[in-house]
Point group: C2
Chain length 325, copies 2
């Protein structure tokens, strides 16, 4: 009897109605790391981005130009951008919370930015120091400025499926925010399940409602957290609804601020396993992603939460055997 081995790739069995290719938009260096309390050295962030590009990533959110007092982890945004060498044709994006952040990002050499609005007043107050309408006005102004100089903008609608203060979120508020950002000139609208509570019917309904308001499905992305383990099923619902851009973080990097044990973004490896099994092209190399997760787990001294990475590297999520750098 030979030794049993983990399967390193899924069997490819396409389904009808699926796209031929999708964009996997990697948010690990920004959305994943911003939740870390231990500040990670710039050199590690730079190596993380290099490893991701080498694994095939062609859409990468590098960092956020927020005031260092808000998120000390991202105080090195300028240095991170300066250190990264995106391959030809790759998108290297920075989040900008306001005009000051946008100007800083431009000065650092960023050529694509993302803005964020909240679908709820509560999240806007807690995270953006304004209310829902204020977050929209602030971001729309940045979009206008960016479009005027040919900089493409991605628009996030946070708390699009639920909010830990307000509970259920009004679908009309999500639709209005998405339509306003799109009308202002955003190229992509990323609907964020910031707390990971959505289920597949919810995804289908929101995508339909946003399209009814004039935002084409081809301009939508889904930004799904896996807090309740629902993210990949929601990606499947999104694919069936015509969405072709999905956010994820390598190793499932990220945390949930109100629930210490809860996970963060959907893990890129787990997403790519499903997409590859469905015969949908991503350009990403599962093994290289899993190695990157294990490397980063060693550096952080924290387990990754990607199930694919755990299976492929034979590394328990509780303990990485990879050496730290």
């Amino acid at each position: 009897m030979t030794t049993p081995l983990p399967r390193s790739h899924p069997r490819v069995v396409p389904r009808e109605g699926m796209p031929a290719a999708v964009t996997v938009y990697e948010v690990g260096p920004r959305d994943g790391l911003q939740a870390e309390t231990d500040v990670i050295p710039t050199a590690v962030k730079s190596e993380l981005c290099a490893r991701l590009f080498a694994a095939g990533t062609r859409a990468l959110e590098l960092t956020s130009f927020v005031p260092p007092s808000w998120v000390p982890q991202l105080a090195d945004a300028h240095a991170v951008v300066a250190s990264v060498r995106p391959p030809e044709g790759a998108r290297a994006v920075a989040l900008v919370p306001n005009r000051r952040g946008f100007e800083d990002a431009l000065a650092a050499g960023v050529r694509e930015v993302a803005v964020v609005v909240s679908a709820t007043d509560a999240f806007a107050r807690a995270n953006l120091n304004t209310d829902r309408a204020g977050s929209l006005a602030r971001s729309a102004a940045v979009v206008t400025d960016a479009r005027a100089i040919g900089i493409p903008v991605r628009g996030y609608v946070s708390m699009a499926f639920g909010d830990p203060w307000e509970g259920d979120v009004d679908v009309a508020a999500v639709v209005d925010a998405a339509a306003e950002l799109y009308g202002a000139g955003c190229r992509t609208i990323a609907l964020g399940d910031t707390i990971g509570v959505a289920t597949p019917g919810d995804v289908e309904r929101i995508v339909d409602a946003v399209e009814d308001a004039g935002v084409p499905r081809s301009a939508l992305a889904l930004h799904l957290h896996d807090t309740y383990g629902q993210a990949l099923a929601n990606v499947l619902a999104g694919l069936q609804s015509g969405v072709t851009e999905f956010d994820s973080s390598v190793g499932g990097l990220g945390r949930c601020p109100y629930a210490p044990g809860a996970t963060g973004n959907l893990a890129t490896e787990d997403l790519v396993w499903m997409l590859e099994g469905l015969g949908i092209r991503t350009g990403l190399d599962i093994a290289a992603l899993a190695r990157t997760s294990s490397w980063l787990a060693g550096v952080r001294g924290r387990p990754h939460v990607s199930r694919v990475a755990a299976a492929l590297t034979r590394t328990p999520p509780e303990l990485s055997e990879e050496p730290s750098v």
Copy 2:
């Protein structure tokens, strides 16, 4: 500002083409615990079953009547069955690997059994001490005996989507095994993704192929491990293919023998979150399931891997704060 709270229930947004209700078949006490190396006291197993029934479980696989030398964890099968008081109408099932196990189960008072066959020779040799054809013949004989005395039988087809020794598994072998078990008189055929590698197109294809061979969709169950994080997306594909019975284990109990860090069965809480969000009745109480997971994590001194339980109990997967019993 009030304190942010985890959402305790999903918003209900039905999708078209979904069933009104499904059976969640709980395998934690058997499939979950059999992978544990530390033997758990019978009293804990008995309390686990009682808590599961109290949480609404109406289909529970209690244990397996295997030789104690094979699985020391399940050597107390008789005592577990004797200690459990299933509510009126609930199914209390025991796995029986062969005729001897079937006779022992009957003697213990079991009134529904499950048999297992392998879709591959390699798994049959490693786990059942026979080959594929031998596992089929052995189980078919038990089914015949059981049907003769009115005992319903569930038939598992293990390694239906992939095998760690053989790689991809021949679809025809899976179909033959399912059709033979159904023809012998099994009431339900549970297609097992024992190593968790399947993706949604794979699920749809196997369900279609098995039905083409004469096993109605209404007689199928999906037994999905979450080793690669794919299980819940595959449940969604199964629902869309007309499957209405799904296996899971509370807290995602269970491990993967060849990959130390990999997870076991799909977590019941995560499954029920999606089903409840889709408006599909299960009869299960998410909060009671999450409390059971946390209690069991404390008893085992090991983290659960249910993401819903982690979010709801605010208990990091790495460390349960629940007292041990």
